[in-house]
Subunit: 214 residues, 2 copies
């Protein structure tokens, strides 16, 4: 019923995650109704991001250059690596201002049902980063500096079934290859501001097991 | 926290209606993660639609040429005009297969609070279409043909406060200028499949007032 260019735009919008046919139609009509100066910058921004933004070759976070801004930042502790599923997970952790180390983006979580196996994620690269740092600190190469030793790997995958499975897999893999490196996991417990009454029993169980002295 | 091109994309996405900062971020990360062949067609579709699609100069519906496909279609009855608020409203009416006339897109609804006055909508053009057709049918010009006489204006603005106000305004304006033209309004009543129990009293009142013989 629409002109072909309109159909095409609706089709492209509907490919976005969480955007159904109806929303796509609404967004298309919005883009049609606004002046060019409001609609075209979106087209330009998509082009620009695809042209300029790639992956950090160290941690697989988003990067405009070959490495990301966090990997380039000398003030960040190189001895702690926080492992996350997606580039978007870096942001909430940065916002806490509690973490001063580096990151490693896996690119997803293990999910055999969906065909996501260890080799589909950047797990090999993580293990190399961690064990490579040990070798360097033992003086195996000329680039050896104490600052490059990785002491701790914080596993910050999602608190979902696949995220937890990935965390267990990574903990084993890191321990096996680099037994001196501490492997930690984000705490599970009551979210701030929540009522005990409405907490699910698994979360509350985790909160109990993780209790600490006051 | 993001690289400037990513921030720019998130900003542009967040300008879309109903897309908040979080959704914009999610969509941006999606576009970043898919191959170019999946992301760039969206940019192209936006450009194409802004370049090629404009307004029909007769009815203000979307049009790739100077007039829209419905206005160009000789088989559509020229004697009935259905008045809608937005181009998107044409689609659901076409889907009913109940309407074989032409359209007139107002470009919105009257809303003095939001600064939308009659001169901001395509009301003048509607009145000219309707009264111009009468003059032509009276033999005022050489283009006079009976088929061009408009007999009825169906007001299909939304069943909202502003849509109803617009309908009343249009009914008065058309009647004043073209007293021989019938002005009708879409029926209000129970949606198909709905329970009386859950109907709001205004809708149910409309359904009662609009009752018809079986």
């Amino acid at each position: 019923v629409f002109a072909p260019p309109v159909n095409r735009l609706i089709g492209e919008l509907a490919k976005l995650p969480g955007i159904g046919q109806r929303t796509a139609q609404r967004l298309a009509f919005h883009l049609l109704s606004v002046p060019d100066e409001e609609a075209l910058p979106l087209a330009d921004a998509i082009r620009e991001v695809k042209e300029k933004v790639g992956q950090c070759e160290v941690c697989f976070n988003l990067a405009v250059e070959t490495t990301c801004r966090i990997c380039q930042d000398e003030r960040r502790e190189a001895s702690v690596i926080c492992v996350v599923e997606q580039p978007g997970d870096v942001i909430p952790i940065e916002r806490t201002n509690e973490f001063r180390g580096r990151y490693h983006v896996l690119g997803g979580a293990l999910s055999p049902i969906d065909g996501v196996d260890p080799e589909d994620l950047h797990i090999k690269e993580l293990l190399e980063r961690v064990s490579g740092s040990e070798e360097r600190s033992r003086g195996a190469g000329p680039a050896s500096t104490a600052a490059q030793t990785i002491r701790e790997v914080v596993i910050a995958t999602n608190a979902t079934t696949t995220g937890e499975a990935t965390a267990l897999y990574l903990a084993d893999a890191v321990r096996e290859r680099s037994p001196d490196v501490a492997v930690t996991r984000l705490a599970s417990g009551l979210p701030v501001g929540s009522d005990l009454e409405y907490a699910d029993e698994v979360t509350l169980g985790n909160a109990l097991r993780g209790r600490h002295a006051l």
